[in-house]
């Protein structure tokens, strides 16, 4: 209408990519950390015996 209209795609994409990092990314880190911590604890317990 007044000048060229902006393409919404990059905005939507950017928003949801950041969304994925914050939710899926953070969750992945949580689960990966848990695996690592459990492995360390296992190793520690084995050493005691």
């Amino acid at each position: 209408m007044y000048g060229p209209q902006t393409d919404p795609t990059p905005y939507i994409a950017a928003a949801y990519v950041i969304g994925a990092l914050c939710t899926i990314g953070y969750s992945y880190w949580l689960l990966a950390s848990r695996r690592r911590l459990e492995r360390y604890l296992d190793a520690m317990n084995k050493k005691d015996h």
Binding site: Y2, G3, P4
Partner: protein, 155 residues
């Protein structure tokens, strides 16, 4: 080790205090985030040397747009008879149109009748509907409420 983390903490506290001060000073100068057209006109003389924000509705039929020069002119109103002519340079936001809510940041003339816009923002309503549904004037009603609540001058 302790003194290293103390220095770190002090540095961060200083930065945090600086950021919070900026945020709070900005907020306090923006507690009246924008004037309504009648409020701005009433105080135009004292405000004419400051960068102020005025919120209003774009009057239908008032928009003049010259694409080549990126010159935009339009009038905003408080729907109670107070109008200000706005001049802006540049492409307006996509949602800018007749009847839309806008917040204009810029300099007002002494008589409060016109303003040179430095930044043009659209203040749209909180209505969300699919195309073709008949909500009539809901958007306009919502905008009016949101733009002109606590308007200090009476019509």
């Amino acid at each position: 080790m302790k003194s290293k983390s103390t220095k770190w903490m002090i540095g961060i506290v200083i930065i945090a205090v600086a950021i919070i001060s900026i945020a709070l000073t900005q907020l306090s100068s923006n507690v009246v985030y924008f004037f309504t057209p009648d409020e701005a006109q009433a105080k135009a003389a004292e405000l004419s040397d400051q960068n102020i924000k005025v919120g209003g509705m774009v009057v239908p039929g008032s928009v003049e747009w010259t694409a080549e020069a990126l010159d935009l002119a339009f009038t905003i109103s408080d729907l109670k008879g107070h109008e200000i002519k706005i001049r802006h340079k540049g492409t307006p936001p996509d949602m800018f149109k007749e009847g839309q809510g806008v917040v204009v940041e810029g300099i007002i003339t002494n008589d409060g009748k016109s303003m040179t816009s430095r930044k043009l923002m659209v203040k749209h309503s909180e209505e969300y509907k699919k195309p073709g549904s008949h909500s009539g004037d809901l958007s306009k009603e919502l905008l009016e409420k949101s733009l002109f609540k606590d308007q200090t001058s009476k019509p």
